[in-house]
């Protein structure tokens, strides 16, 4: 009978999350479709040219496979081709890499872990360090610590490939503190041994540092801004008025200020991954970024497409995780307001 509002939207938080999921699924479908359409619609017919170049260099079976994948010389309607393409994707069939002569899915599954390990760890580490620094510099705004701001701004603007190259030049080539390039000592072979793992860690240090260094400043500056904004909220002043310790007041502010950073996480993951793909090129590190550049150089279209799909899906998955994290952190997304 008596009720506070005529139309209660009880669980709109979950609805929001489901909407995000729907958007990501739609994006995944769009990516797949773009992947299907691009080679077929581009001016100059790049696939026809590729097949021309490949004649005699690879087996006729492979040429047939490529033709099938890109719909060359088949008198099938676009629609039939599209259905065929989707069916193959659902079975995990991404075609065959021209340069490596093995299924794209195999190539990717052997290389993806290097990328996920390096970029994933780099992203998490830089997010946490950058956010913590942002909290600190936001809290101490107006003090001498402010001098880091212009420096961070500059660091943020340094292109990643330049930063990586300079790091190699200084710390690997000149000071010899770190190995030059690669993912592990080339004299070792991959196995589950302590020497091998230690070597992987050792070789990962500089690439990891470069990723952290290049994305740190962005998180830091963003978090500092949010911290400054949040500190002018009444509830932070309230925390002071309640006689809480400085640490506790800072925690009140930081916990709220981090929310926009988390909300931005989804937006930034794409940028971060894009930038970090270069790490493999510069450090000659295995992984999909390296594969991607090589695939472009070799006009290995099946591999190129497979990588693109893989990266996109990974980013979409990460985006969804970030959205879910936000949902967990902010109670306001979970329950409707009473007004």
């Amino acid at each position: 009978m008596a009720s506070n509002s005529i139309d209660e939207k009880g669980n709109h938080g979950v609805t929001t999350l489901l909407r995000r999921l729907a958007i990501y699924l739609f994006t995944a479908w769009t990516t797949i479709t773009v992947n299907f359409v691009l080679p077929r619609l581009m001016p100059g017919d790049p696939i026809q040219q590729l097949i021309g170049k490949l004649q005699g260099r690879v087996t006729p079976e492979m040429i047939a496979a490529i033709k099938a994948q890109f719909g060359q010389g088949l008198n099938q309607s676009m629609w039939t081709q599209y259905v065929h393409y989707l069916t193959q994707l659902l079975h995990g069939d991404l075609g065959v890499s021209i340069t490596l002569s093995s299924p794209v899915s195999d190539v990717l599954s052997s290389q993806i872990w290097w990328t996920v390990g390096l970029i994933g760890v780099g992203a998490v580490v830089s997010f946490f360090i950058g956010t913590a620094l942002g909290v600190f510099f936001g809290w101490t705004r107006g003090s001498r610590a402010d001098v880091v701001i212009p420096a961070a701004t500059f660091l943020q603007s340094v292109p990643y490939y330049f930063l990586g190259t300079i790091l190699i030049m200084i710390f690997a080539a000149t000071l010899h503190w770190f190995p030059l390039m690669g993912a592990y000592d080339p004299t070792l072979s991959p196995e589950w041994s302590w020497t091998y793992i230690a070597s992987v860690l050792r070789y990962g240090e500089l690439p990891l540092a470069s990723i952290v260094l290049s994305s740190l400043a962005g998180w830091m500056l963003g978090m500092r801004n949010m911290m400054v904004t949040t500190m002018s909220e009444d509830f932070v002043l309230m925390a002071v008025a309640k006689g809480l310790s400085r640490r506790r007041v800072m925690w009140h502010a930081a916990r709220n200020a981090v929310l926009p950073s988390v909300a931005n996480l989804a937006l930034t993951i794409g940028l971060l991954v894009s930038g970090s793909l270069l790490v493999e090129q510069i450090f000659n590190y295995p992984g999909v970024g390296n594969l991607l550049v090589n695939a472009v150089g070799n006009e290995d279209y099946p591999l190129l497409q497979g990588i693109f799909l893989l990266i996109t899906f990974t980013v979409l998955g990460a985006n969804f995780l970030a959205d879910a994290l936000y949902y967990v952190l902010d109670p306001r997304t979970r329950t409707a307001a009473v007004h």
Binding site: E233, F235, L237, A241, K242, G243, R255, P331, A337
Partner: protein
């Protein structure tokens, strides 16, 4: 200059606050003095920009940058374990202040929605202040205390499980009041706590406040722009204009017999709910811009009784009559060339409702 009378909780003298520094500074509060007795209610009335909020945030050292306290002396008599001790709030260290905050002085801000941490359940707000200031309480004791406090303001204990955005405006403000009383402070400051609420809710909260104060005996500084509300609630009222106290008097005296033209104007700005309908004028003009305050009395450009002296000289806040009244107006100076109008010279014991 100090807190000699044991019945006084707070003594403020010659308190001034600036906003900004050097060339950009403006004077937000000028030369405010008053004292507050135990369990007394002091009302501060004034419009936006009159400095009423700046005054209390300044006193408690909570004023944000670029606010700077430029003069004055603020003393607080402590209670409880430190009974009898007197602390100089302007000389206090951060640790000193932290120790007395909330346990001796608590504050209720205008918007409870903004003042409550949006990520904390209501229960956590109570738990936090109780834990920080009294480490001896167990978790269940703190919870029990929180439930008692909610009951005090007429809220169900299940509200402790709610987030601020899940409560209505009135409920949130009740939570704030309960929170402010959590440590039994002897001084509570309320900055327009009911302005954002409907009149009916305001009435409920103000009535509750009355009962609570009678029961718990805390002193209260209550800020509002609604003079009628203050007359009901306060023992004594200070009217502020352009950063200064222009009139100070016991509440009923102020209401029945205002002495400052601005106080009179404010009263005549609220149409009455009964009696004949007559045309009223309010106060002509608008409140002064503090960046370019007028010379002399800041109210003179809007004052019907202004004379030369008002345009050039700032009137001091002088005691008049007996009964602890004071007013800052040249009109009440013996040398005033303008005769004090009847509306500003009425006796304080005239029947209520005389101001129409």
């Amino acid at each position: 200059m100090s807190l000699t009378d044991a019945n006084l909780v707070l003594h403020v003298s010659n308190f001034s606050v600036d906003y900004g520094y050097a060339d950009e500074a403006i004077r937000a509060v000028t030369d405010v003095s008053f004292s507050l007795g135990r369990s007394r209610v002091l009302g501060v009335a004034g419009e936006s920009g009159s400095g009423k909020s700046t005054l209390v945030y300044g006193l408690t050292r909570l004023l944000r940058a670029p606010g700077v306290i430029t003069a004055g002396d603020v003393r607080l008599r402590l209670s409880g374990a430190r009974e009898g001790e007197i602390i100089d709030l302007l000389a206090a260290t951060e640790d000193d202040l932290r120790a007395i905050r909330w346990s001796e002085i608590s504050i209720v801000m205008q918007s409870a929605l903004n003042a409550l941490n949006p990520l904390h359940k209501i229960g956590k707000e109570f738990d936090e202040v109780l834990r920080v200031h009294d480490g001896r309480l167990s978790k269940s004791q703190r919870r029990q205390r929180a439930e008692e406090l909610l009951a005090l303001v007429g809220l169900q204990p299940d509200r402790l499980q709610r987030y601020p955005h899940e409560l209505s405006g009135g409920q949130r403000q009740r939570v704030m009041i309960a929170l402010a009383l959590a440590l039994r402070p002897q001084l509570v400051i309320m900055d327009e706590p009911t302005t954002a609420l409907d009149v009916v809710t305001q009435r409920e909260i103000v009535s509750e406040l009355h009962e609570l104060r009678e029961r718990l005996g805390f002193a209260l500084i209550f800020i509002t722009h609604d003079l009628s509300l203050l007359v009901e609630l306060a023992d004594e009222i200070m009217v502020m204009y352009a950063g200064r106290i222009v009139e100070r008097a016991p509440a009923l005296d102020l209401y029945r017999a205002p002495r400052h033209p601005y106080t009179l104007g404010l009263m005549e700005s609220f149409p009455p709910l009964s009696g004949e309908r007559v045309a009223m004028t309010g106060i002509p003009g608008s409140p002064p811009n503090l960046k370019t305050p007028p010379a002399g009395c800041p109210f003179h450009p809007r004052c019907a009784y202004a004379h030369d002296r008002c345009r050039n000289e700032m009137p001091p806040l002088n005691d008049i009559e007996d009964g602890g009244r004071s007013v800052a107006c040249w009109l009440h100076d013996p040398a005033s060339p303008v005769e004090v109008p009847v509306s500003l010279s009425r006796r304080g014991d005239t029947t209520p409702g005389g101001v129409k």
